[in-house]
């Protein structure tokens, strides 16, 4: 298949779709299916049949449309009209949508999610442009929306170093958490000399509550393949792996189908898109360990070893899979590539802030009116996300904090709501952008308990390789538990601080290094809450039981001289 074939295929698919007067897009991703999406689709199909509209109307199962808490979501595309999004569609509503809107062009007002609602208006869909718009199992649908033209362009018009350079200019940074400049990483791998190189897409997504990557893999799998293939060409790799979390069977299945379809059409595999370039992609399924998202552990897992990190350097770009240079990026990072190539680096760089470019997908969760998957320009404020996109806190309760970056991140309290969301600003507040989990908490959350939740998660997910994380996270958890039981003393708080810093400073991989972050940041912003638990036996949110007393002082270890440690000073300065 060459570029002309690709254009022809796109045209054919477009013509086919244009033949329908109306297209009904039903979200078939996990949240909507779990809120009754299947019944809705059945109702729609029945209504079409009953109304004898088969020839006129096409029903399509798509990926996620975004407002997941308002599912099932259905989008109606009438020829010559603007798209209409329906929310919380019941089977009855679905029947009415067909009978009234499709048949008589009378929208069913009470179910319409207005297009100008801030939920949509404040978003900027680049990576999610196809999500909810196409059938993820249809290569043609992807191609009809310009799919694989970026790859075709790159293979014909660009040299590998130009691709890397272009990505660097776009300012794209890794979406997996650490925010490392993607173009620079590509160029490192490109420059590494080796007979073999690999490209790995990280789709392990272990943060509790986050599902950006799952959604992207389920909704637009070809976008990831295209990004990987471009990367393969840019760095000189002929083999790619997508590492999919074991709990994501649908994502794995769609990716598998996508790979087969692309290979059949010569868009992947040997001499793809009529070029000299060969690129194969295989899927590897993870076994559900958070640490396997860490790049070195992930590669160990791909190689069939126990998924445990190894010290860096050497970095994967020098020595990764089977000792060969390996490019590893998050799936969302790969999802950003095609638009950058098609629209030029400058276009991407114009979105966002000075140092954080482009858009980022977040999974908005917790105490907000609309939870779901959102894609926003970098630099948007937290307030806009919480109050505009998320529609504020239910029942007008008070906003307390937002946890960004999941268990590796930190909390940001109300006074910083106007902070722009970008790598540097969040880091300055002691948190991180992370992979994209945003958990909104209102006054009913106890911050000690929140910290305990994340530490419980990390202690459980620690791989056990290095001493500080293996032992330290459990210890931090125990101290937090002690505080929530009411058994702690102020000395424990001191121990807790020190312990956190030591685990951060001495752990081998990012899991351990970041595991104490929720504690450190809650100590930073909600120290009085910790103190109240200990001194007054009081949990303002009413979450903690506090039904024990501290041990007698004799059992408590005596204090010991303090050491000067930079990080500790930093912490105490706040």
């Amino acid at each position: 298949m060459n570029r002309a074939d690709l254009a022809a295929m796109a045209q054919r698919e477009q013509d086919r779709q244009d033949a329908f007067r109306c297209r009904v897009l039903c979200c078939a991703s996990t949240p909507c299916l779990s809120s009754g999406g299947t019944a809705v689709r059945e109702a729609i199909e029945k209504a079409i049949k009953d109304g004898d509209l088969d020839a006129d109307v096409q029903v399509v199962s798509t990926g996620c449309m975004g407002p997941c808490s308002r599912g099932p979501v259905v989008t109606l595309k009438m020829r010559g009209a603007e798209d209409v999004v329906y929310e919380q569609v019941t089977p009855e509503a679905a029947t009415r949508i067909i009978q009234e809107h499709v048949a008589k062009n009378e929208p069913v007002k009470e179910f319409v999610f207005p297009n100008d609602a801030p939920f949509f208006a404040k978003q900027h869909k680049v990576v999610l442009a196809n999500s909810g718009q196409i059938d993820p199992e249809s290569l043609e649908d992807y191609v009809a929306r310009g799919g694989y033209t970026a790859l075709a362009h790159v293979l014909r018009e660009m040299k590998p170093d130009e691709v890397c350079e272009s990505i660097t200019r776009s300012g794209l940074r890794g979406r997996g958490g650490a925010g490392y400049p993607t173009g620079i990483k590509w160029d490192l791998v490109r420059k590494s000399q080796s007979d073999k190189k690999y490209v790995v897409a990280n789709g392990d997504e272990g943060d509790p509550g986050a599902y950006m990557d799952r959604s992207l893999m389920e909704s637009d799998p070809h976008r990831i393949l295209e990004g990987m293939a471009i990367a393969g060409y840019a760095v000189g790799a002929e083999q790619g792996f997508i590492y999919v979390r074991g709990e994501y069977p649908v994502a794995a299945k769609r990716l598998e189908r996508a790979i087969r379809a692309a290979e059949r059409r010569g868009l992947l595999g040997s001499r793809m898109v009529d070029s000299q370039f060969n690129f194969r992609i295989d899927i590897r399924i993870g076994a559900g360990a958070f640490v396997c998202g860490e790049e070195t552990a992930l590669m160990a897992s791909i190689m069939g070893k126990r998924g445990q990190p190894v010290p860096r350097p050497p970095y994967p770009s020098q020595s990764g899979l089977w000792g060969k240079p390996t490019l590893i990026n998050n799936v969302e990072t790969f999802g950003s590539i095609a638009p950058i190539i098609l629209n030029k680096a400058e276009w991407f760089a114009a979105i966002g802030t000075d140092k954080s470019k482009g858009t980022k997908i977040f999974a908005l969760a917790g105490d907000v009116n609309t939870t779901g998957l959102i894609e926003v320009p970098m630099g948007i404020t937290l307030r806009e996300i919480v109050y505009d996109i998320g529609g504020g806190i239910p029942d007008d309760r008070a906003f307390k904090a937002v946890q960004t970056g999941g268990p590796s991140g930190g909390c940001i309290p109300a006074q910083y709501l106007d902070t722009p969301v970008d790598y540097e600003s969040l880091r300055a507040l002691g948190s991180i952008v992370g992979s994209g989990g945003l958990i909104i908490m209102d006054e009913r959350s106890c911050m000690v308990d929140v910290a305990k939740f994340f530490l419980d998660f990390c202690a459980d997910e620690s791989c056990g390789k290095c001493a500080p994380c293996r032992v330290g996270t459990v210890q931090i958890y125990k101290l937090l538990d002690k505080i929530t039981r009411g058994a702690a003393t102020l000395a424990d708080l001191e121990t807790l601080r020190e312990l956190c810093v030591m685990v951060q400073e001495t752990s081998l991989c990012g899991l351990g290094q970041n595991a104490p972050n929720p504690v450190v940041s809650t100590l930073r912003y909600f120290y009085d809450e910790y103190e109240a638990h200990i001194r007054k036996h009081k949990c303002a949110a009413g979450v903690c039981a506090l039904n024990e007393k501290p041990m007698s002082p004799a059992v408590v270890a005596p204090p010991r001289p303090k050491r000067k440690v930079a990080r500790l000073d930093e912490l105490e300065a706040v």
Binding site: G464, P468, E505, S507, R560
Partner: protein, 908 residues
Amino acid sequence: MSDKASGKAPEMKHSPGQPAPTGKEPLPANKPGGASAPGAGGGAVPAKPEAPANPNDVSLTIDGRSVTVPKGTLVVDAAQKLGIEIPVFCSHPKLDPVACCRMCLVEISGPRGPMLQTACSVPVAPDMVVSTETEQVRAVQEANLAFMLLNHPLDCPICDKGGECPLQDQTMRYGPGISQLVEPKRHKNKQYLISDTIVLDQERCVVCWRCIRYLEEWEDKPQLGLFERGGATLIDIQPGKPVDAKTGGNIIDICPVGALTNRVARFAYRPWEIDRTPSICTHCSIGCNLRMDSRTHSVRRIVGRENMAVNDQWLCDKGRFAHGWINDAQRLQTPLVRKNGNLVAASWSEALEVVASKLQSIKKTSGAESIGAIGSAKLSNESNYLLQRLFRSTIGTNNIDHRAGADVAALPTGLPALVDLMKPQYGPDPKADVVMLVGVDPSEELPILDVHLKRAVRRGKTQLIIVHPRKVELTRYNGPYLGCRPGSEALLINGIAKLALKQVQNSHTAPADAAGFVADATKEALRTVCGVDVDEAKRAAELLAKAKNAVIIYGPMVAQGEQGKQVRNALTNLALITGHGSRLAYVGLEANSQGCRDVGLLPNALPGHAPLSDEKLRKTLEKTWGGPIATKAGKSYSQMLDGAGSDLKALYIMGANPASERPAWAAKLDALDFLVVQDLFLTETAQLADVVLPAVSWAEEDGTFTNLERRVQRAPKAVRSPDSKAASDWMILDHLAARLGAQWPFANVHGVTAEIAKVIPAYHGLTWDALGDQGVQWDAAAITRAKPTMQPVTQETISTDGYSVIGGTVLYDDGDLFAKTPLMQNMAFGAAVGINPADAAKMGIETGSLLKVSSAQGELILAARVDPSVRAGSVWIPESLPNAPVGALRNGAAVPHVEITPGPKSAA
């Protein structure tokens, strides 16, 4: 005693994190708080070190001092060079870094300012600035020790490691002194057997992975692994699969805490109460360096000792654990003399008098030719040298030999050097690019060579070629494997030589007349007679032809008898054609096989591999020994035993037990006029003796041994029972010589060592003191050998009757030296016969069925052991198994043929 101070080969990376087992290291002066150390606090900017002269070197600054080290050196080793100790747990100089304990974190300057990095995994970089004593580093060390101790049971008072435990030592030096963490500890398995000899205490374990890495990186047997995760992480074996790697015990030495302990030595010592004697192991011919820890005249445990030219720092499990025999209650304590048919206790003077007068009278009546002496390759150079001196000179006979002595077609020089095989162990730079093993199974016979070969294959890309009738363990590396019919090796090797000749045709290496000597070994013959795949033989020939430095090693299994000479000839041809003549080596399997031949315990050679006809040496010896030496070649080991009771009237046997090898020999020994046995135990042979002289072992008297690569090493006296009258070999022989009228000049055994060093040219200068703790390899050029030439090779016809017997030895053979350590009983091979599954199926036999193995010479009842490694049409009966004297079937044939029939019970 600190063995550490002794010579260290350049491969040494850095000293292990643990002082033991190589002796306590002195603690460097500990600067309080690090305040006085230059560069402490990370603030001071040290002078930039000058660029090194050598482009492969890197200069960096550590604690304000500059140091230059080779590229790739780890920071921890660079610091060591300056005498700066960075504490470690997981890091070990012999293992790849994992950086999991985090104890070695130091501040290393980087683009983003000083960062904590693990010194054990980060290689040096130019202009790197490292600080090891800042407040931050101290705090981190304290914290890490606290983490390590948090779940540690602190049961030091009852822990074997206490007193030599890095965890204890580091807690003293770097620990916080106070713990703020008062939560209850985790409980796990405490006395958990991961093998018959190794006990794991999961509570003490600090999860440093050293044990896991040893088994993976050295044994290539991942038998230990991490299970669970997070705080629950523990070390364990796969369910139901104990650690059975032959060198598994090494994990005890390298465990930095008391998590892995030696079950044989458990609770038998406290490290501060033992005497430590640097010695060597005498279970096989590698001669691993070890340390014998003893107290109150008994050996309490054995640990590995570093010798980079021999065993790195490893021991096999037999060497480590099987020492129960040294202090066994059945050891002979007093001389015995036969009176009225019974052996009864006697005084030394009485016993020696009987021996002297009897030997003299037999010499008078039947001549010196009717007297013979058998020594042992398990005994020292000194013992064997004196035995041959006594009989050659004082008695006047050359009837002197040891088992696998003159009957074996050995080459005099042994392996070129073990270091040549070991060279690649830490880097991809093998000295031997191809190693061919003919009739040796290092995994069973020379376990440390096995470990070195695995390293050479996996890290150095050395290729292995294996010729063995059993598909031995090392065949798993997929080198050419030639499982020929037992006894057809000569033809096979000559056939490979012929195939190689084609490969090297255009080069000048092959001797001009080569073709004629290999003509008979056609492909057809390889297929039909040897039963091998010709393509595989071609692969072997190609490898050898292309190799720059191939080492060809053959063992006693293929070197016995007349056919053994043919194998040696064929190997000579092969080595000449492929250009590896100087690296063809015979390896004997016993501790002093090489030394025995070196000191002339042979009927047809004088000390130093000189022929009996060597007049010059004879003159020197006669002068030193004060009398003439017999000129006529003597009888070999088997000739003496076959002739016992007929042309041989008296035998003096030192440390050998021929009666256990063949019932026929036992009968002949019984028919002797006079039999003297000098040994440790009342062996089957000793029970037949007229006089039994109690001797002491290698642990109880100084002695030297020469290993398979000609390294002469010391084994000093470590213990001696005060209650026993047993005496050293040299002293017994010295007294006997005196009673026979000779005046020997020895004040102690070192005098004997000195005489050996004087009379044998190759041993010149190798006195006790000169050998030191690491031994000295004698120079192969010191012996004169005729230049090897192409040899004719004849292959005897191989009988196709019945089954051919595959011999060789196994490590856990259940001989006296093994059986006296009861904890190892389950590991013994047992009286068994290995049989191919196809043959077993044909006969309806399964493992455990009793089989009758019979030949014209006798029969044995043995349990079957169905084993796919055994070639079809053959059976495997290792030698030296008590209760399986395969010699009963042999009748001198190197490869006997036997009939197999279902045994008594299974037939019933």
